[in-house]
């Protein structure tokens, strides 16, 4: 395992999540470094979405402690936290009758609040986000009339406008075709490279995770089962432990590794 190059973004100490008698996430201790793309993978129900929701403060952990930038999560004010951490839920909700630009502008809420003025800075950040995500073409269309890939990009633009140092994305590619998946993940990766944004992203496809993430965390049954670089994770025996089926790993021409279920 490589040592984190920058100070820790999230630190978990025995964080866990239980609902009733069921444990969604067993006590988990882990450090997530800043400025990197970290992939969360695992089978359905492995606890990856739960973990992301804990980090995003969508749910409170039922035990243990989670710190963000050295401070416990509960200590952060609602808006102060939103200025630092942006979260994209698994299914982007219907937006009623909102135009792309209006949706992106909502990302400025943590900065101006319920009553503050929408300043020139806010406007500039919105335009920047639209330019960066290349969503100018749909900025004045209603979000609900966009295609799945376009809509996802507008949502990511909103997260960019939020100007947070950390993005938490729950399966941002689940509804997209392969070309749009590549496009979205490339965008996320370039955000990390150009702005130093820390990204934690839940991904279904281990090959996508291997290609776009610096670091992969694998969960199984609510426990951490493997963590490492893509190279370390995409290995037959590790994959077998993560997904519970035999996988073959092939080397691509470009130098990457591709995993395929063994049939």
């Amino acid at each position: 395992m490589s040592a984190p190059p920058s100070p820790a973004l999230f630190e978990l100490v025995d964080a866990q999540m239980r609902i009733g008698a069921r444990t969604l996430l067993h006590p988990l201790s882990l450090t997530v470094p800043a400025g990197r793309v970290v992939g969360l993978i695992g089978h359905n129900g492995s606890g990856k979405s739960t973990l992301l929701k804990l980090l995003a403060r969508q749910h409170a952990a039922t035990g243990g402690e989670i710190r963000f930038e050295g401070r416990p999560l509960w200590e952060w004010g609602t808006r102060a936290f939103a200025r630092r951490v942006a979260y994209l839920p698994q299914s982007s909700p219907a937006t009623g009758s909102m135009s792309g630009r209006e949706l992106v502008a909502l990302g400025r809420y943590p900065w101006h609040g319920a009553l503050g003025r929408f300043t020139a800075v806010d406007r500039q950040k919105v335009e920047e986000a639209i330019a960066l995500t290349d969503t100018g073409a749909f900025a004045d269309r209603l979000v609900d009339t966009l295609s799945g890939g376009e809509r996802q990009r507008v949502w990511i633009a909103m997260l960019v406008a939020q100007d947070a140092g950390c993005l938490l994305l729950d399966e941002p590619t689940s509804a997209l075709d392969i070309a749009h998946q590549i496009e979205t993940l490339t965008l996320i990766r370039s955000l990390c490279r150009e702005r130093g944004t820390g990204v934690i992203v839940v991904l279904h496809d281990v090959n996508m995770a291997a290609r776009f993430c610096d670091d992969i965390i694998a969960l199984h049954g609510g426990r951490l089962i493997a963590r490492g670089t893509p190279q370390e994770i995409v290995a037959p025996d590790t994959l077998a432990r993560i997904y519970g089926i035999a996988m073959d790993v092939m080397r691509q021409d470009g130098g990457g590794y591709v995993a395929m279920p063994r049939i």
Binding site: I19, G20, R22, L24, N44, G45, S49, A56, R57, Q58, T78, R79, A80, F81, A82, R83, V85, A86, Y87, L88, P89, P93, A94, T95, G96, S97, M98, S99, E102, L106, G107, Y109, P110, G113, A114, L115, D140, R141, L142, D144, T145, Q162
Partner: protein, 674 residues
């Protein structure tokens, strides 16, 4: 992910024993009540002999034989018929919340009966069951026509049915208002009274219900196949259309006979099949039988309890209203346990035109329109000598009488529209509104309790009581929504249940014959008749203050429709924000309900109308809706004063006459876009 905790909770089999015990419990209550009532009636015993061979010289025995016993039989028959009708409707429509009540069949049949009673009593000579049957069939035909485009999506059918039912109830109320000498009797009928003299009713009901029951048995096999997809059914060689039509006819007939005989008895047809299903009756034959048995037990228990209560309180209480009184909480209990097809919600998502336009100009136009309506309404009106112009300054002119009413209507419309907008955005539900969600009914309930408990109520006390009622209704609703994970259909259903509960409470009080009931009735229909200048001024001021406060919450209103997760991720203080918005909605509804009654559909229609005009952003939608709502009610007030001059129709009722069809039109139109 498939295995979220709530998916698991729903997958867990609902407690069958609980439901079965509940049914047996109702039967036990019925039995105990019967014994208690007989013991009160005939303390000396010898009950059977008294009923079979009453001694004509003993009034107690005559009462037992010609009032108590037929009533018992009718309650069992009517309960079984409604339970069976509900089961058939649910099977035919593949809709677990279909019932004679929720499809508007009962109200439609009742309206037909009222209309015939007043205008064409000769029709009743052919048999009142034909009148109610026609009414019920017409209502269900309208409901189907409206929901056809959605492919009969369960919620669309139910919404169309509930609104059609409310519309019929409003019309019946209007009839009662004009023909007030029939008022008391109609009310008892409309609220489902089982008090009888003689064996005529059981003898009327038994053969007709028997016939319909026989038809149901013949339809059993084809009905079983209807539970599957149409294509599959057709491939099994069944004419889907014919079976469906025949089964619907049987269900409507069962309901119509009951309405013709004893009036509207709410919720039995919904609760009985649901209870039977939860109790574990899976196959159609046993399920229908169990539905009928459960319905009979429910109505039996209710009616016996009502009789016990009547003896204690010395007042006549309509049983039908009481079934709603406990049927509605039952519905609230059932809602989270129902399995609804997941696709239904999608068909209701609002899709709007592309028009972005300039909201400022549209708002200005709407404002001009409102001003024009206000001016016309207060300046001109019919008098005994024809239409006249009343100018301000002339002491004898009607100006001073008309303006306060118009202003009160304006304030009421504004407040309702704002409440509707806030609720729709808060609950992310395009069909939410104070009227549909029972908030108006909550306000009405609060006011009713205040009027009956406090001898002299001041305007302020009335307002407080109404606000409290509205707020309580909203809280109950949101708790129910929390249990059902904010599923829009379940929220609406919970709202309907709360509304029905409070309506039932009000009907029970009104049917009690208390003089205050007439006062309440006038107010319930939304009359602006009694509004004086100071009330109008205060209401207008309240509406203006509300409008001025709205910019403070505009950003929350913009973000809440995106869902809890997104709003929280953006740093919106969810708890405080929701509470504030709820309070705004509750106070606005309460104030409006005091002015224009709980019946109008302005809170539902105005926000949609605003969005149809291309006012999309929270603030322009709110102000646009406020102007539209005000316009509708000012116009309604004007129409109510002039149409039937010298009689006056209440503004709220006239608005619902406009608003309900508008809602139904919206409902059928929206499906095209979905």
């Amino acid at each position: 992910m498939a295995d979220t905790p709530w998916a698991r909770r729903r997958a867990r089999a609902p407690s069958r024993l609980g439901a079965a015990a509940l049914v047996l419990g109702f039967a036990a209550i019925g039995l105990a009540g019967t014994v208690a009532n007989l013991a009160m009636l005939l303390p000396g015993g010898g009950w059977w002999a008294a009923i079979v061979r009453p001694d004509a010289g003993l009034p107690d025995q005559l009462l037992a034989a010609y009032s108590f016993a037929p009533r018992l039989v009718v309650s069992l028959l009517a309960g079984a018929a409604l339970g069976l009708a509900g089961a058939i409707l649910q099977q035919v429509l593949r809709n677990p919340i279909a019932s004679p009540t929720t499809l508007g069949i009962e109200s439609g049949a009742n309206l037909a009966l009222s209309a015939a009673l007043i205008w064409m009593p000769g029709l009743l000579g052919f048999g009142r069951e034909w009148v109610t049957l026609t009414g019920g069939l017409l209502t269900i035909a309208v409901v189907f026509l409206l929901s056809r485009r959605s492919g009969f999506a369960p919620l669309v059918v139910i919404l169309a049915g509930m609104v059609a039912g409310l519309y019929c109830a409003s019309l019946a109320a209007l009839l009662a208002l004009f023909e007030s000498h029939y008022l008391a009797g109609l009310f008892l009928w409309g609220a489902g009274s089982l008090s009888l003299q003689g064996w005529e009713e059981p003898l009327f009901l038994a053969p007709r219900l028997g016939l319909a029951g026989l038809a149901a048995i013949l339809l059993l096999r084809p009905l079983a196949l209807l539970g599957m997809e149409d294509a599959q059914t057709r491939s099994l060689g069944l004419s889907v259309g014919m079976v469906r039509l025949a089964a619907l006819l049987v269900a409507v007939a069962l309901t119509a006979f009951v309405v013709a005989s004893v009036g509207c008895i709410g919720f039995i047809g919904l609760a009985a099949p649901a209870l039977a299903r939860i109790a574990g009756a899976r196959r159609i034959g046993p399920w229908m039988l169990a539905s009928a048995a459960t319905g009979a037990a429910l109505l039996w228990a209710t009616d016996q309890m009502v009789q016990v209560a009547a003896v204690i309180s010395a007042q006549m209480i309509p049983t039908g209203a009481v079934t709603a009184l406990f049927g509605a909480p039952l519905l609230l209990w059932i809602i989270p346990r129902l399995r609804l097809p997941p696709a239904a919600a999608g068909s209701l998502s609002v899709q709007l035109g592309q028009s972005v336009g300039r909201p400022g100009r549209r708002l200005l136009l709407l404002g001009g329109l409102l001003l024009l309506a206000l001016t016309l309404s207060s300046l001109i009106g019919p008098t005994a000598t024809g239409w006249s112009l009343a100018l301000p300054g002339d002491p004898s002119s009607a100006w001073a009488l008309r303006l306060p009413r118009a202003l009160a209507a304006l304030a009421g419309g504004t407040l309702l529209a704002v409440a509707g907008c806030v609720l729709q955005r808060l609950t992310r539900n395009p069909m939410a509104s104070p009227e549909v969600m029972g908030v108006s009914a909550g306000a009405a309930g609060g006011l009713t309790v205040a009027i009956f408990l406090i001898a002299e109520t001041s305007r302020l006390e009335q307002m407080l009581a109404a606000s409290l009622g509205a707020f309580l209704a909203l809280i109950v609703l949101l708790l129910a929504a929390r249990v059902s994970k904010a599923n829009p259909e379940r929220i609406i259903l919970a709202g309907i249940a709360i509304g029905a509960l409070l309506d039932a409470l009000v009907s029970v009080l009104m049917a009690s014959g208390d003089p205050r009931a007439i006062l309440l009735f006038n107010w319930m229909t939304g009359s602006t008749y009694g509004v004086d200048a100071s009330t109008a001024g205060a209401s207008l001021l309240a509406a203006l203050v509300l409008l001025a406060l709205l910019p403070l919450v505009r950003r929350w209103l913009g973000m809440l429709p995106l869902g809890e997760d997104t709003a929280r991720a953006l740093g919106v203080p969810l708890g405080a924000g929701r509470l504030l918005l709820l309070m705004i909605a509750a106070v606005a509804t309460a104030l409006a309900t005091l002015l224009v009654g709980p019946l109008s559909f302005v809170g539902l229609v105005a926000p949609h109308a605003a969005r149809l005009l291309g006012l999309r952003r929270p603030l322009s939608e709110l102000y646009g809706a406020a102007l539209i709502g005000a316009f509708i009610l000012v116009t309604a007030d004007f129409l109510g004063r002039t149409i039937a001059f010298p009689w006056q129709m209440p503004a709220g009722l006239v608005a619902s006459m406009i608003g309900a069809p508008a809602f139904l039109w919206l409902l059928s139109r929206k499906q095209d876009l979905a």
